[in-house]
Amino acid sequence: MGPTRRARQAGRLPPWRRARRVLLLACCICLVPAGVSWVNALSAPRNVGLGVTSVEWLRQNGGNSLVSEIENEYYTLTAPSKGGAPLRSLPQVGIAAAGGSGQGAVEAGYRPPNVVPLIHPALPGEGVWKKAAANAGPRPPVLLTSFRSDPEYPQFVAGVAWIDSSRTTLAYVPGLAEPPPPLTHRGPAEVPQGMRRRVVATFNGGFPLETSNAGLIYRGKVVEAMVNGIATVVEYRDGRVDIVKWESGAGAPANVWFAKQNLPPIIDEGRLNPNLSDGPAWGETVNNAVRVWRSGIGVDAHGNLLYAAANYQTVESLAKVLRRAGAVRALELDINEDWTSFISYRHPGAGSPSNLLPEMYRPPERYLTPDERDFFAVYLRPGERW
């Protein structure tokens, strides 16, 4: 055997070991651009933790199905069991009873009827509307209540907010990262300083555009092509707000100021969507039957907004909560504890912000600092007194 051959054999690794080395090197090479992208995501302005930012980064960079699968498994494994000890009291919601049975006097304007509790005997204050703000006067713009949402799970409490559309306007506020760039007039991604005098409530938006497979019109311009048949929160140029099943095509009708779509309607003309089961129409996210924090928004028969949120909800149970509160049309908004927020402001100037439910994990100051996700802000109409 010649010296060259001997040397070659001495430096030769077994094939499987070389294959392992190739794989190791390939992984190291792949990690370089991925690491750069991840560090960029972490260094962008954000108000959520490292874990949430990393998961969001993975979702936005091809890992959405993987994250959803892991979430499905996790939530299925940690699903609550039925029954359990009954609650003795409900969490404190709102600051004062709205007065009367809820069927307000004519001169005071329309008041929603109290929500009829599902579980008997009812707990003190269950389903009774309360003012969200101190000194809100005889016609509070926002009322809050809570009730146990599912007889099979008597420990689950849903929080519901009613928003008087005759006294308020709704604004769509883009977040720092959602909708994704490019977006003209993105704004401060928080309640603008100039509007804080009039803000009475803020709440989470819908799924990111990437996962909702739906459209968005912002300031009268199409950001993402609208999709027919999808439930849509619409504000018209005259200030009217509605929730509709979109049938106006991909473009922006001249009378629409903003339109945010999210999944098919969960309630349409007073009836639950008969197809609340899973399917591609429900976005690339956790299955509809998985019990998780969920939120939704609807309109009652008088055109007032109703927001609902609770932990351990399926899409169907959320729809039932909204219907029980009086919604005739409704859609699901964002899900998961990281994104579900309804905040009312108890004093003018965005003073004393308060979460709808104490279990809501994001701080009540969430929308007074720039936020990643888009959200809705409810303002008193110009000329309306606090």
Binding site: G2, T4, A10, L13, R20, L24, C27, L31, P33, N61
Partner: protein, 79 residues
Amino acid sequence: MVRLPREISPGAAARRALLADLLIALALALAAIALAAGIGIVGFAALLVLLALGAWTGVEAAIRRLRRPPRSPTSRGAG
């Protein structure tokens, strides 16, 4: 005229093999990045494989060390 084989040291042979492996790895990585849905999923998968291979290599090294016969006291410092 007979051409004599060039002298290649074991070190040089190992370096050549490493270079060849590096080129194959680069091609593999580029293919993965081009074909995957996004860089995030590529990085996540690479991290998992890296951890698995790292654990494998570590276990292998530990087993090799355990199997190696202990050095005799006389051989110490003999070189």
